[in-house]
Amino acid sequence: MNAAQQIDRDAVSDRTQPLLKVRGLTKLYGPEKGCQDVSFELYPGEVLGIVGESGSGKSTLLSLLSGRCPPDSGVIDYRLADTHKSAGQWLDLYSASEAERRTLLRTEWGFVEQNPRDGLRMAVSAGANIGERLMAQGVRNYQALRAAGLDWLNQVEIDPARIDDLPRTFSGGMQQRLQIARNLVSGPRLVFMDEPTGGLDVSVQARLLDLMRGLVRELDLAVVIVTHDLAVARLLADRLMVMRRSHVVETGLTDQILDDPQHPYSQLLVSSVLQP
């Protein structure tokens, strides 16, 4: 099933219900280190930005949300895709078995690491990187894997002739785009991103943001993106959560928060960035 069909099929019934329901999520490493009492809902196709300075707990929250680290308390419910065996059912992420979580992570979910080296297999070619999720799902046709590799390189604006090259021969921006392709090949509904533009030059960042914005809209992806860069948040996110010392201090539509912040910390954060 391609992305367009997926949207048609899901569009009517799917969009009115949340994809992810998070209640009272807490994980503390020390006093005000980690995150506490976080609740929100995320809808299909929605991009949620988590902003705050380093140490505010946004990366901890992302680990909890993406099934990588169990919380001290709180619940994460995820609504499984219609194509799934248990169509439309809710899955309690940390009550589910590790097998269910792993399946989710390599099918309906994606995770884009800040450092592409953590998200790519550096020792195998770009094509193998893109094909891995498909192979894990049981695709056993070499030509089909090849075709998917070429298609996705194209979509993330990498010359398809580089399909057999190793990622280490790619620039930082290309590696990050390859990591995105590797995640999106399985047609995920929800993608987590940890400072995806973090290690890149400003000009490279702009191109990557542009590409990401296009793909998110085109594929109707729900995204949770952690960033300390408010420009990235403004460009990609529909809604923002502002974190400080493990607490969510303010949440709302991106424009609202960036143009009219209410909480003193949000005001400080916004004023510290040069306005465009």
């Binding site: 503390l28 490493y29 020390g30 006093p31 057999d164």
Partner: protein, 357 residues
């Protein structure tokens, strides 16, 4: 027909004879006795007993003789023999604080209750070859009997523990697995880890311990206490219902004191690493204690980034009998696999009829 490695029975028999000849050396020189090895190479005997996991100085000396001084081979001989032994009892935990001390030092305090005791040591010797030994000069005999400490010698780390400055170790009382009977599975318990390290290769542990000092998993060690001496071994036969002493063994024990910065829930405190070896084997005990502590990184939420902190890496590779066996098996014929590789590489070098694209 040409058969290079298909040597067969005759070749094996001949190899055994040549080995025996090599071991014996020049027959005009008197043959080395097992008792001589036991008496005059006690540190080699200690190492073979420790890594061979069997406290029997005579058999260890025999193994050293039989292996022509190859200590890893001697350890292997002792281990293979140990497998065949029946176990009739497990001893009670030994009490090293009741040790009859030959040597004791603490680097963390100038003086400690019970005092420091230098004892026999290479430390402070000048490493100058002693040509009187070459001339087979006689040892004049001990000038003074080492005055074995008679006072009470409480353990140094126990003194820190009284003040709450060092992390208390919990004895859960749970049965302790035997890694020579049950396969080691990861993550291992600390008891299993210490067993593996006690059997581990001295050189490997020394190098890993050294690597932590040079910054690969730094944990700021101090030699809290090293003690060498004799400890009684007690067993409690079920039919008796009370413990009886079955003899004494010589042990070297090392307790390292390491810095620890504290965490969200705990105040800063010292932590410890533990090393224990049969006989007089300080280098082994110290290496073991350093590596024990570095393997506790996970327990103290330290970042695991260096080889000495990685449990699977250390435990899977510290056993020299396993390592020597697997490396030496490369000497076995591999020509079937090599043939398969030859065939493959010839095929890969031919221009491909159907390019991958």
């Amino acid at each position: 027909m040409y058969v290079a490695v298909k040597g067969g029975e005759q070749a094996i028999d001949n190899a055994h004879k040549l080995l025996a000849k090599q071991r014996r050396g020049d027959t005009s020189v008197a043959e080395l006795g097992v008792e001589q090895i036991r008496q005059q190479l006690p540190l080699a005997v200690a190492r073979v007993m420790t890594e061979g996991s069997l406290y029997d100085a005579e058999l260890a000396a025999l193994a050293i003789k039989q292996s022509a001084g190859d200590l890893v081979e001697a350890i292997f001989l002792l281990r293979a023999y140990r497998t065949t032994l029946t176990r009739f009892s497990a001893s009670l935990p030994i009490d090293t604080s009741a040790m009859q001390l030959n040597r004791r030092l603490s680097a963390t305090f100038k003086d400690v209750p019970g005092g420091q005791l230098l004892g026999p040591t290479f430390d402070y010797t000048h490493r100058l070859l002693d040509f009187t030994l070459l001339a087979e000069g006689e040892f004049p005999g001990p000038e003074a009997q080492a005055d074995a400490a008679v006072q009470d010698c409480p353990r140094v780390l126990g003194l820190l523990a009284k003040e709450g400055l060092i992390k208390e170790e919990q004895d859960t009382g749970a049965p302790v697995a035997d890694i020579t009977r049950e396969p080691l599975e990861y993550p291992a318990s600390r008891a299993e880890r210490l067993q593996a390290l006690a059997r581990g290769d001295e050189g490997f542990l020394l190098a890993l311990g050294y690597s932590t000092q040079r910054g690969y998993g730094r944990n700021h060690p101090f030699a809290g206490e090293i003690r060498v001496g004799e400890v009684e071994v007690w067993i409690e036969p079920e039919e008796l219902g009370f413990p009886i002493s079955i003899g004494a063994i010589e042990l070297t024990e090392c307790e390292m004191v390491n810095q620890f910065v504290g965490s969200a829930t705990e105040l800063p405190q010292f932590t410890r690493g533990y090393g224990l070896a049969f006989g007089h084997a300080e280098r082994k005990a110290m290496g073991m204690a350093l590596v024990d502590r570095s393997l506790r990184a996970g327990e103290y939420s330290e970042e695991i980034v260096s080889p000495a902190q990685q449990e699977e890496f250390v435990l899977a590779h510290c056993d020299n009998v396993e390592a020597a066996g697997f490396v030496s098996h490369l000497k076995l014929p591999h020509y079937v696999d090599f043939q398969a590789e030859l065939e493959l590489i010839r095929k890969l070098r031919k221009p491909s009829k159907e390019p991958a694209q």
